[in-house]
């Protein structure tokens, strides 16, 4: 893995605080996750932050990786944050327009090396729920391709803005397979093609899975996370979270990574969590939904794609 670890001593305390304020959570997650791919790998990208991570990787770290979306777009340079795997921006400059089933057959053939996925609930062994929260009578999005991807992609990089509710002792529903109960050959016994989750990238550090016990542990933290913050973090988990010793210190997002992230979404159309805070939400809440507003939204989209198209061609 092309990691750029540096020592914490490089930074003085005053610098650290200022540094932390420089990045938004989506930037932290997507930029750090973008380093999890090696060049020439085949990369399955999702939507939102997980798609953004793949896009940054393609632009900055791994120019020869091949990005694949569920709907059937393959080998595109990534020109915008995807709001759907069938987005036209993924069809632009793609090497192949194929079908949904074709992509899943490719996955099951073992042709996809790494996949980015988001998640709602995760347990100690990387099993994931994106279907139901039973205590709140809530139906969530459901598997989509997640169940297939988690079964068959070479490895999975999970991405999420850190949220205490995401970590549970027992899942309400296991949509995506991790390492089951952690036993050594659980995935092999289930006859799954893929190797399972490799890491979870959050804005509170990177978690990896122990090679033997398959248990989630805190592997890497940002330079601004001191001992106290790490202790608080540990307390959030409903199990006794193991922490790597020594903990690696992450190189904060580089200028190139952040620039790439901003290029993908210059107006914060997709990476802002609430739709009401996005440009589109602001227009709607002002009652501007007519032709003029439509024209404005079209212009925003066109400008974003044109700009990045220039830089990749």
């Amino acid at each position: 893995m092309p990691h750029l670890y540096t020592s914490k001593d490089k930074y003085n305390p005053a610098q650290l605080e200022e540094m932390e304020g420089k990045y938004t959570p989506p930037e932290l997650v997507s930029c750090i996750a973008s380093r999890e791919v090696e060049d020439r790998e085949v990369v399955f990208v999702g939507i939102g932050i997980s798609g953004l991570a793949g896009a940054i990787s393609k632009l900055v770290h791994t120019p020869n990786c091949i990005l694949v979306t569920e709907a059937g777009y393959v080998g595109f340079p990534s020109l915008s944050v995807l709001i759907s795997p069938a987005d036209n921006s993924a069809g632009l400059m793609a090497i192949c327009h194929q079908g949904l089933a074709d992509v899943f057959i490719d996955l099951q053939s073992g042709l996809v090396d790494v996949a980015y996925l988001g998640f709602a609930q995760m347990d100690k062994f990387g099993n994931v729920n994106v279907s139901y929260i039973t205590s709140r009578q809530l139906k969530m999005n459901g598997s989509g391709g997640g169940g297939d991807i988690a079964s068959s992609a070479g490895r999975i990089v999970y991405t999420a803005e850190f949220n205490a509710r995401q970590w549970v002792g027992k899942l309400d529903y296991m949509t995506e397979t991790g390492f089951f109960d952690g036993s050594p050959d659980a995935r092999k016994k289930a006859n799954l093609v893929g190797g399972g989750p490799s890491c979870v990238v959050t804005d509170k550090g990177v978690f990896r899975f122990d090679l033997v016990s398959h248990e989630l542990y805190l592997a890497e933290v940002f330079p601004w996370q001191d001992k106290k913050k790490i202790k608080t973090l540990k307390g959030i988990f409903p199990w006794d979270l193991k922490i790597a010793s020594p903990l690696k210190i992450l190189e904060p997002p580089t200028e190139r990574e952040v620039t790439a992230a901003k290029q993908m979404d210059p107006s914060g159309q997709y990476t802002v969590a609430s739709i009401l805070d996005r440009p589109i939400g602001k227009l709607i809440s002002q009652g501007k939904i007519g032709l003029e507003a439509c024209d404005l939204m079209c212009q925003l989209g066109e400008r974003a794609i044109s700009e990045i198209l220039e830089s990749v061609t």
């Binding site: 036209n88 089933a101 099951q108 949509t175 006859n191 032709l291 939204m297």
Partner: protein, 348 residues
């Protein structure tokens, strides 16, 4: 029954191939197509994938014609259309892998579905064998709307199995997860050759597939630009196939790019010339997503009152798709087309 001397042929199966597929001129209106092919109690699917090339106009037409007891099968997508049919209590069963629920910051992507689960309005829900509408919320004796969970690949395999004309398709997805645990229609077996776990997905033949294409001729040769989704499988699995085309072209035009004809005439029962039938979703090479309309509709549909008002205005209030386009405004639709043409354009 003997067909060309073959005694063993299963005539019942052959009879499923509808006479409509043999016609040389299949053009009709959307109203006629829905009335002819979709009956109460039928199942259907629509083409495309999440927000792209999804026949939203058909969902509104189904609602206008007041069909009852329908089932829909889809991988992921058509939130507005499916949610509209849920709002009106038209659906009995949904087989789906993904329905946008709470992704966008506290705003429900499928408000009618969430309301149905929580409050039993307009009918109660039994979701994936996991969630049911609380007993004290059930107001009527209409049987609950049943939601069956699959993954995207598994829905694709259901339709591929339908196209293959076999009872099931095998795969290695989601073995050991809770999906095959709660969905008892799929089966994990030990395969007879290598004795390893294998997941069997029951095949499915929907009654009707409504598929949006960029170009089609009067015979029903459909050409698609951009991603293919599962549309070529849907067209072969479904008993009746209705193409909704952006452009109706002479067959000579089809000859120019035969590799793009993913739905040949022998699959097709009807062709509807219906520009902008996907709006507010997008169509590759034709027009962009109308995100502003989609999201403002969504905000209006958050409450039952708002949703019913929206249905009155945009569904019942328009006699057909063209009246809907008039109401949206052709200038707006042209603007969305211009935006898409800036980057992707279908050759004339």
């Amino acid at each position: 029954m003997t067909i060309r001397g073959l005694q063993t042929i299963d005539y019942e199966q052959r009879a499923m191939v509808s006479e409509h597929k043999k016609r040389l001129h299949k053009v009709m209106t959307e109203k006629e197509a829905v009335a002819t092919f979709l009956n109460d109690g039928d199942s259907f699917c629509i083409g495309g994938f999440v927000l792209w090339r999804q026949a939203e106009s058909v969902m509104r037409e189904i609602a206008r014609q007041g069909r009852k007891n329908l089932s829909v099968i889809d991988e992921s997508g058509d939130y507005e259309g499916i949610d509209l049919l849920v709002e009106l209590g038209i659906l009995d069963r949904i087989d789906i892998a993904y329905s946008l629920t709470r992704q966008i910051g506290g705003i429900s992507g499928t408000p009618a579905l969430e309301r149905s689960i929580r409050e039993g309005v307009p009918r109660s829900v039994e979701a994936g064998g996991v969630l049911v509408t609380p007993r004290d919320q059930i107001k009527s004796d209409i049987p609950p709307l049943k939601i069956v969970d699959w993954t995207n690949f598994e829905i694709s395999l259901r339709l591929m199995g339908g196209a293959f004309n076999v009872p099931f398709m095998p795969c290695r997805s989601s073995i050991g997860s809770d999906i095959p645990l709660y969905n008892t229609e799929m089966k994990v077996i030990n395969d007879p050759f290598e004795n390893k776990p294998l997941l069997l997905i029951p095949a499915y033949k929907p009654d009707v597939a409504f598929i949006s294409v960029q170009k089609a001729d009067r015979r029903g040769n459909g050409q698609i630009w951009g991603f293919k989704g599962t549309d070529h499988w849907k067209a072969r699995a479904a008993k009746h196939v209705v193409l909704l085309t952006e452009e109706l072209v002479p067959t000579e035009k089809i000859y120019e790019n035969p590799s793009l004809t993913i739905i040949p005439a022998y699959c097709t029962d009807a062709v509807v010339h219906l520009p902008f039938n996907c709006t507010p979703t997008g169509c590759f090479g034709s027009y962009q997503i109308d995100g502003l309309s989609f999201n403002s509709n969504l905000l209006q549909r958050q409450t039952r009152i708002g949703a019913l008002k929206w249905v009155d205005d945009w569904v019942y209030g328009c006699k057909d798709h063209f009246a809907y386009c008039d109401k949206v405004g052709w200038e707006r639709l042209d603007r969305l087309a211009k935006s898409e043409h800036k980057f992707n354009r279908i050759p004339a």
